[in-house]
Symmetry: D2
Subunit: 344 residues, 4 copies
């Protein structure tokens, strides 16, 4: 039986991770930290009767020897030094923040507006997109769990990117449930404001998650092929789930069958990828409360058999496959367990 420490357990990703750990046959809770609630118990925070004590991050570090893995659910920037402290003890660190996702510190600085203060770890961090980088993850000691939006886009487009079939520009219109914005009360997420509404934000090339799409998809094919990702996220009046509707132009001459073949081959045997049959679309219903990503590919114009325009729809649960579930999937891979343990 492995034991897990969770640093920053008071947010939605921490809560979700706890629920998943309770289902995992080989993992149990070691300690939980919460800076704002240290000294209390978990049931102060959520409608549960789990009496786990909440300790400080410092105390968690002092008790690192009691656990086999530390999951860090801290905000970006705050995570940087915490990860380093845990990493230096030799423990497996699985970081759900953005701090170790981008390999190039200059790109990190450009998008996040601050200097990366643990750059040496960027070399050893593995980007934990399990279906694409399983081999690299296996030997990792520091895993950067991918962002929720990019996971939907990167899984949705990887087969095309690998074939070099993404055009110059891809348009990504994504819709996310409100839990993606965290648990801190704010007017935009007040029930009356978000309910019966949908709001675009950070439109164009403004959202930080574009960097993860560029990093993964523009390196998928050996050549220097570069695609720009015009990305518009929307706040959707649901608790959880992301749907990305993606507009792609493939090279002339590529057939629908070839494209479907790519996807089938890329994701053959993957337990958490649901390839949707032709003629149907991904919806949140395919994936919420699961660790799955559902992907559909549809030619834009049914009257043109070999047109170049395609719509990819991809959905996942932002708290599970887009965060805590994928974190646990990484843990399973690193420890050599059944990759689906705790995730069915």
């Amino acid at each position: 039986m492995y034991k897990a420490g969770i640093a920053g357990a008071s947010g939605y990703t921490g809560y979700e991770l706890l629920k998943l750990i309770h289902r995992h046959p080989q993992l149990e809770v070691g300690w939980l930290t919460s800076e704002s609630s240290a000294g209390g118990v978990y049931s102060d925070l959520y409608p549960v009767d789990w009496d786990y004590p909440l300790i400080s991050l410092e105390d968690g570090l002092a008790r690192v020897g009691e656990v086999d893995v530390v999951f860090l659910c801290l905000p970006h920037a705050a995570s940087m030094q915490a990860v380093k402290s845990f990493y230096d003890t030799g423990i497996l660190a699985i970081d759900l923040s953005a701090d170790f996702r981008l390999a190039d510190p200059a790109i990190y600085t450009r998008w996040y507006g601050l200097e990366h203060t643990a750059q040496e770890l960027l070399q050893v961090a593995r980007y934990g997109l399990c279906e694409l980088y399983r081999e690299q993850i296996r030997g990792g000691q520091l895993i950067a769990v991918p962002g929720c939006y990019p996971t939907s886009v990167n899984l949705g487009l990887y087969p095309l990117a690998k074939a070099g079939w993404l055009g110059e520009r891809v348009i990504v219109d994504s819709k996310s449930g409100v839990s993606g914005a965290g648990r801190k009360p704010k007017l935009d997420y007040h029930f009356v404001e978000a309910n019966e509404n949908i709001t675009p934000y950070s439109v164009g090339y403004r959202h930080r998650h574009v960097a993860e799409m560029e990093q993964v998809l523009n390196s998928a094919n050996g050549t220097a092929h570069q695609t720009r990702f015009l990305f518009t996220p929307h706040l959707l009046p649901v608790n959880r789930g992301i749907l990305s509707t993606i507009y792609v132009d493939v090279p002339a001459g590529v057939t629908e069958d070839e494209i479907r073949g790519l996807y089938t081959e890329s994701y053959d045997g993957e337990p958490f990828i649901h390839l949707i049959p032709a003629g149907k679309q991904a919806s949140l219903g395919h994936t919420v409360h699961t660790n799955r990503c559902a992907i559909a590919i549809t030619p834009a114009d049914p009257s043109r058999p070999n047109g170049t325009e395609y719509i990819v729809t991809a959905s996942l649960d932002n708290l599970i496959k887009g965060a805590s579930g994928q974190a646990l999937q990484n843990f399973n891979i690193v420890k050599g367990l059944d990759e689906t343990a705790g995730l069915l």
Copy 2:
């Protein structure tokens, strides 16, 4: 054309009042105050292009001569002195707070935990439950707009109370949309917490609105008959609307026909009361986005023709009939206008 000042225009009741005034053929906006946003314009606050400047309460008072009525949408306690200042200028003051609803200052202190500092006005304030007190309202200069929950209960039970047919105890199980809690972000009203949920709060005899039920219903019949109101409000995952499900025991011998007769007679010709036919229940769909109160009466046990147990269901829109619409209805009554002006 009359002009209105609105003190405290930045909350949901202020916003709703503005929308209603825009539909009113004889009323237009004079000035709007907002302590937190003074100096800005209304479109800073809501998704509208109304460029009304926002001024301070002090400036509103200085410009009282420009308007014919002041609607006060301030929090309780804060409203007390503001109402007094406006009232003393001789203008019609329509107060949406709780400060002038309770005739007895001792009862106010018991429920609100503070001294009433404008007690002399309690004598002149009229309780603006239009269907019941239309005559008193007509000559008023200070109107206390009733609370949202009690409006549903008082209209729902008044015919029974007037006949002296309310038993010793009435159980009121109410459900309210989140806008009833105001616009200030708080964890309970965060979308993710309130959505797909329902939460009881202030259960039993704890909620302040019980005082308004006692005041209205226990004085409806001449005798000293006293009913206790065991009241449980719930936070409902909708933007607006209140449904009260009310359990009443009538005296033995009273027939369903007699009860229906009471309601029909009490509300004959009322434009904003919707008496629902036997066998059907009130729902939010009957009243949201309207100034109406829908009321249904159902005997509890269909197998006992003249049983004593009845269920009354009553619904209204908490922001309209439960606040701003009723405020405007009071204005129409005081000014001798068509009572439905702006409210259809």
Copy 3:
């Protein structure tokens, strides 16, 4: 006082139209038809106490002399002959179906899969997009009320189209509330299926509403400029409202200021167009329960001052500006009334 007949009053657009007529100072209800509920009263259908009798379409036609306008809220195909019958009596016919929106019967047949059997009326029908075609509407006797999705797109893009600045292809990612799908129960619209979900449908060039975008926008500029509209509608878990997120490429050299100038000029003084200031986006909150269309324009890349990529977001209430409100606005124009009557 004018009187209105409503043919097909039992659907959501009929219900909404009734509510709006109740607010209109110069229009009242004449008669209402419903094939499925003829012989009953309106309160059988909705949670209201309006006792309007429901008559058959045939009886409505026989009583055409009692009304000044007929609004037809019938399904497409069914509307064709009904419109003709009313039109032939000389009365003003305002048709909310798709049957008279497309000027070219061949295009109608292509998208709707059936022959147009009242082609002679296509010559006299006016496309009722009020802000663009006000002059033509004024003298009309047959008005085709535009579709909900195209109204958001056509108003959102018209200034660019008129300038000839729409590129070869525009991508339209639209999200619509469930009332857009009508009132007939179906598994897709069952609460449990649609709630906490979002589903794309008719992706690509498949949805009939593309034809209205082509017709309006490709004729906006005198030249033979043709734009294709790659359109993806989504079913959104809200009752009402459409948000269209639109991706446009303008010619190189065009500046953001020029574009904003076009919009300001095109919609100057329009009571129902809300141009959103730079840096903000349209949301449903801007327009639901109103007859307005809100439009925002944002350059995709803030780092490139004169880039060619823009995102237009446009929202409206599908039942009001996208149907019954726009129908009433057309009525006001034809009859020379205040265009906003009943619509504030």
Copy 4:
């Protein structure tokens, strides 16, 4: 590894049961029946990629030897004979319908309006309310899974009933998510009708589930004590979850401490009962997506230390603890497995 047959797998309880079985370490799917979809596969029905073939009930019966348990998710009346057929083969039958819940066939006939045609099995059926009847369940071959509403009420009141402290009449005001009404499209459950709404139905002593409350609670105490349950269910705009707000009068002299003691003792060590600390209430957030029932007890009047009025709030997930989860919990008990297997 045990194998399960599911008869009537196409409804929400069948779907939920499948999801739970996938998490169960010792149970897997044998066969699934669906009369309406026999010949197809499960992924025709739900947004999943599970390719289980759907067979007819008759074929399921023929293949009873392949499974160790049959879960029947059929409508009441239809379940009666199906249960008998399976039971007669000697297999464990776990019935989620209402057909074997009521021990007295006359009571069944009174509430369900039809003759019970398998009365001999009423003697052997065990009422599967696990926390109360664990011992009887253990040896059962036919388990009647309790109804969703009564499970919340019976667990919420059992300690009081056992002590003989329920008064003459208990008022139960329950609110249920829409999945409780099944998957068949109907106007009441159309998204636009149910969303932003709440509707009472079957008010008073009309709902069939009252019979299960009477059967369990009126037999809890040895004496002939009889309580009437005035029950009002409401349709709540959420997918899943039941909240029951229950108004109880205990005998004079009983203290709050004694009551809390009863609950603590009755549910000591129960893995699926969450007793909420004093001063807080049960909400759906406590229990949705779990097999738990959360229960809170609150004295109505905080100013009277030993008053007799109490409010009990109890919540559960209608599809899990109120149906499929409880079904699986019964399976675990009968087979002597860890009672929480598959249910965490």
